[in-house]
C-alpha cells in the first residue's frame, strides 16, 4: 500500500502542474488586466506590466509560476492586497480556516443526518416514513442553497430575531447555524437518497438473511451488516464533496457575509489578480486530489476485498 501511495502522490504532482497550466491559459484568455482602472494611462499599464513580468511571453510566465510552485512559492498578490505573499493571504489571514470550519461542519451534518435517514428510509421502504423522507430529501435537493439561506435569514434572523443575520468571522456558535444548514442541506438530502439506494441493495443480500437466521437484532443487522457494505458509494461521493465543501461555499459565504476562501477566490477572478487565482486553484485542486486518495485508502478499511497494489489488476 505504501508503494501505491507514493505512486499516487507522484501522479498528483503531474496533475497539479497540468491544472496550473490549464488555469493559466484560461485565465489569460479572459480580457482585462489587474492594473486596468478608469484613469490608467497606456504608459502606466506598460510600466506595471513590465514590473510584474506580465509583458513576457506566456510560456515564460507559466514557467515562472511553475518553478515558483515547485519551490513552494505561491507568488505575490498583484491587486487585492498588493505586495502580500499569496500564501499569507490564503493560510495566515484565517480565510482558509473559516472555509474549512464551515465545510467540516456541513460535512458532519451531511454524514450524521444523511446516512441514518437513508438507513431508516431503506428499512421502512414503502412505508409512510420512507415516503415522508423521500418527499423531504427531494425537496432538499431541488431547492438551491441560496434560497434556503434566504429563507433561513428571513425567518430565523429577521422575523424571529433568534440568530444574527451576518455571520462575519464565525466567532459565535449562533453564527454557525444558518450557514452550516444552508450549505449542508442539499448534500445531506443527496446522501440520504444515496444511502437508501445502496442500503436497499445490501438488505436483500444473502448475508443479511444469514444474520437474521443467527437471531441478531434488527439494528445490528442494519447498522453492522448492511451499512458497512452499502458505504462504498457514499464514501466515493463524500471524498470530492469534502474538498468542495471546504472551499466552495461561495454563495453561502457571500449571503452570510463570511470572509472565507470561496468568496475570496471569486473576487480574485473578478479583479484579475492572477497569482491569487492560480494559487487558490492549485490549493483547491490539491485538496480534491488528496481527498480522492484518502477515499481510496478508506475503501481498504471498509471492504477488505479491496487492496491497493498499484498494479492494474
Amino acid at each position: 500500500m505504501f508503494g501505491y501511495i507514493v505512486k499516487r502522490i507522484a501522479a498528483s504532482v503531474c496533475t497539479l502542474l497540468f491544472v496550473a497550466a490549464i488555469t493559466f491559459l484560461v485565465m489569460n484568455a479572459i480580457p482585462g488586466s489587474p492594473f486596468l482602472e478608469e484613469n490608467t494611462t497606456v504608459e502606466q499599464m506598460e510600466l506595471a506590466n513590465e514590473k510584474y513580468g506580465l509583458d513576457k511571453p506566456l510560456i515564460v510566465q507559466l514557467k515562472n509560476y511553475l518553478v515558483g510552485y515547485l519551490h513552494g512559492d505561491l507568488g505575490t498578490s498583484l491587486k487585492m492586497q498588493k505586495g502580500t505573499p499569496v500564501s499569507d493571504l490564503i493560510f495566515h489571514q484565517g480565510k482558509f480556516v473559516l472555509s474549512i470550519k464551515l465545510g467540516i461542519l456541513a460535512l458532519l451534518i451531511t454524514v450524521l443526518v444523511g446516512v441514518p435517514l437513508g438507513c431508516i428510509a431503506a428499512y421502512f421502504r414503502g412505508k409512510w416514513i420512507d415516503n415522508v423522507l423521500s418527499v423531504f430529501s427531494t425537496l432538499g435537493i431541488a431547492i438551491p442553497n441560496f434560497v434556503v439561506a434566504t429563507l433561513l435569514l428571513e425567518v430565523l434572523a429577521i422575523r424571529l430575531g433568534m440568530l444574527p443575520s451576518v455571520s462575519g468571522s464565525l466567532t459565535d456558535v449562533k453564527s454557525y447555524i444558518m450557514p452550516v444548514i444552508s450549505l449542508g442541506l442539499y448534500y445531506a438530502c443527496y446522501v440520504a437518497k444515496l444511502t437508501r439506494t445502496s442500503m436497499l441493495d445490501a438488505i436483500n443480500q444473502d448475508y443479511v438473511r444469514t444474520a437474521k437466521a443467527k437471531g441478531l437484532k434488527t439494528n445490528k443487522i442494519i447498522f453492522k451488516h448492511a451499512l458497512r457494505n452499502s458505504l462504498i458509494p457514499v464514501i466515493t461521493y463524500l471524498g470530492p464533496l469534502t474538498a468542495g465543501l471546504m472551499c466552495g461555499g461561495f454563495v453561502i459565504e457571500t449571503t452570510f457575509g463570511i470572509p472565507g476562501l470561496g468568496r475570496y477566490f471569486v473576487s480574485s477572478i473578478i479583479e484579475r489578480d492572477y497569482p491569487v487565482i492560480m494559487a487558490t486553484t492549485i490549493v483547491l485542486s490539491a485538496l480534491v486530489i488528496g481527498m480522492n486518495l484518502l477515499v481510496d485508502i478508506i475503501y481498504t478499511f471498509v471492504d477488505p476485498r479491496i487492496t491497493l497494489t498499484g498494479k492494474g489488476e
Partner: protein
C-alpha cells in the same frame, strides 16, 4: 421441561404470497413431524414450496409472503405465536439454518471469526470475547478446517466454496441447536465437495444429537443422509415416509416419476430415464383437484375434480395422497 416425543410438528401450514397478479399459495396445508435425532429430507422441484416452508419456521419470510394458517410447534410451543424478540432468541440457538450459496451467505466485510463469534455472543451476553473466540476455533476445527487459529481471522473471500459452507455449518452449530434446517446446502458445491459436506453433516448430526430438515431436489443426497422423506409438489406434501419405503415402495405417481427420472447405479442393462411429462403448475391458477393430475399418466376423472385424501400406506408413517390408493382399496374390498 415437558417431554415431547416430537421436536417439531408442523400442522396444516399455509403460506401465501400476495403478489400484484394474485395470491400464490406457495405452501398449502402441509403437515409433518420430526422426532429428536431424526433427519428428514424435503424433496421437490423448484417452486414446490420447500424453501418457503423452511423460511416460515425461521420467521424469515419476506414480504409479500405470509403465513396464513396452521401451526409450527417446537417442543409443543407454537412458533407462529412468538413475538419477534422470542423468535430472535430461538433462531440460531434452538433452530439454525444453513443456506444454498455459501459464496454470498457470509458478510464479505467481516472476518469469519467475527461472524461466528457474533452467533454466540448475541444469544449469551455473559460470554467473554475470549471464550467466544475459543468456541469459534473449536467449531472450525470440528467442521474440519485446518489451521483454525489462523483461519478465524481471515475474510470469507479467502475461503474456498467448500470451506465457506463448512464455516457456515460451524456458525449454525455453534450454539448447539436442536434443529438444523439445511436449505440445499450442497447444491452450489462441486460433486467431491458435496460428498464431503454430506459426510460432515452426518457425522455432526450423530455427535451433537440434533435433528436436521434437509431441503434438496437431489434424491441421491436424500438417500445418503435422511431417515425420512417428504416429497413436495406445488405446495403440497404428496408423499412422506421412511427413506426405504419411499425409495423401494414409492406410492404416489409423482414420486415414482421422480425416481424413474433419476439414474441409478444398481440398474441393470440399458434402462432409459423417463422424464415426467409436462411443466410445473401455474401457482396463480392451481387445478381444482389433485395438483399433479395434469401431468399424471394415471389420472382419473375424480383426480381433476377433488383433492385426493392422504392415505396411510403402512404403520411406519408412510403416507401418500392419491386417488389411486382409494381405487385400489375399493378393488381389494370388492375382491373379497
Amino acid at each position: 421441561m415437558d417431554e415431547h416425543k416430537k421436536l417439531i410438528e408442523v400442522n396444516n401450514l399455509q403460506v401465501s404470497f400476495f403478489t400484484p397478479a394474485g395470491e400464490v399459495k406457495a405452501v398449502d396445508g402441509i403437515s409433518y413431524s420430526l422426532g429428536y435425532n431424526e433427519v428428514m429430507g424435503i424433496v421437490g422441484e423448484s417452486g414446490s414450496g420447500k424453501s418457503v416452508e423452511a423460511y416460515s419456521i425461521m420467521g424469515l419470510l419476506q414480504s409479500p409472503g405470509k403465513v396464513i394458517g396452521g401451526s409450527i410447534l417446537l417442543e409443543g410451543k407454537n412458533l407462529l405465536d412468538y413475538s419477534k424478540k422470542q423468535m430472535r432468541d430461538i433462531c440460531g440457538k434452538e433452530i439454525s439454518m444453513i443456506f444454498q450459496n455459501p459464496m454470498t451467505c457470509m458478510n464479505p466485510v467481516y472476518t469469519v471469526g467475527d461472524q461466528l463469534m457474533e452467533a454466540v455472543t448475541c444469544h449469551d451476553k455473559s460470554i467473554s470475547k475470549k471464550e467466544a473466540r475459543n468456541r469459534a476455533i473449536e467449531m472450525l476445527n470440528m467442521v474440519g478446517i485446518n489451521n483454525a487459529e489462523k483461519r478465524i481471522d481471515q475474510y470469507p473471500h479467502e475461503f474456498s466454496g467448500g470451506m465457506r459452507q463448512r464455516a457456515m455449518i460451524a456458525m449454525g452449530l455453534i450454539c448447539h441447536p436442536k434443529l438444523l434446517i439445511a436449505d440445499e446446502p450442497t447444491t452450489a458445491l462441486d460433486v467431491t465437495t458435496q460428498a464431503q459436506i454430506l459426510e460432515l453433516m452426518k457425522e455432526l448430526q450423530a455427535k451433537n444429537n440434533m435433528s436436521i430438515i434437509f431441503i434438496t431436489h437431489n434424491l441421491g443426497v436424500v438417500a445418503e443422509i435422511c431417515d425420512r422423506v417428504s416429497v413436495m409438489y406445488a405446495g403440497h406434501i404428496v408423499e412422506q415416509g421412511e427413506v426405504n419405503d419411499i425409495f423401494y415402495h414409492p406410492q404416489h405417481p409423482y414420486t415414482r416419476g421422480l425416481l424413474a427420472s433419476m439414474p441409478r447405479l444398481d440398474s441393470e442393462g440399458k434402462e432409459r430415464l423417463i422424464p415426467i411429462e409436462g411443466t410445473p403448475v401455474d401457482m396463480l391458477d392451481t387445478p381444482k383437484g389433485c395438483r399433479f393430475a395434469p401431468r399424471c399418466a394415471e389420472c382419473m376423472k375424480v383426480c381433476v375434480e377433488q383433492e385426493p385424501p392422504a392415505v396411510c400406506i403402512n404403520a411406519n408413517g408412510h403416507i401418500s395422497s392419491c386417488w389411486q390408493h382409494i381405487r385400489q382399496m375399493k378393488e381389494e374390498v370388492g375382491n373379497r
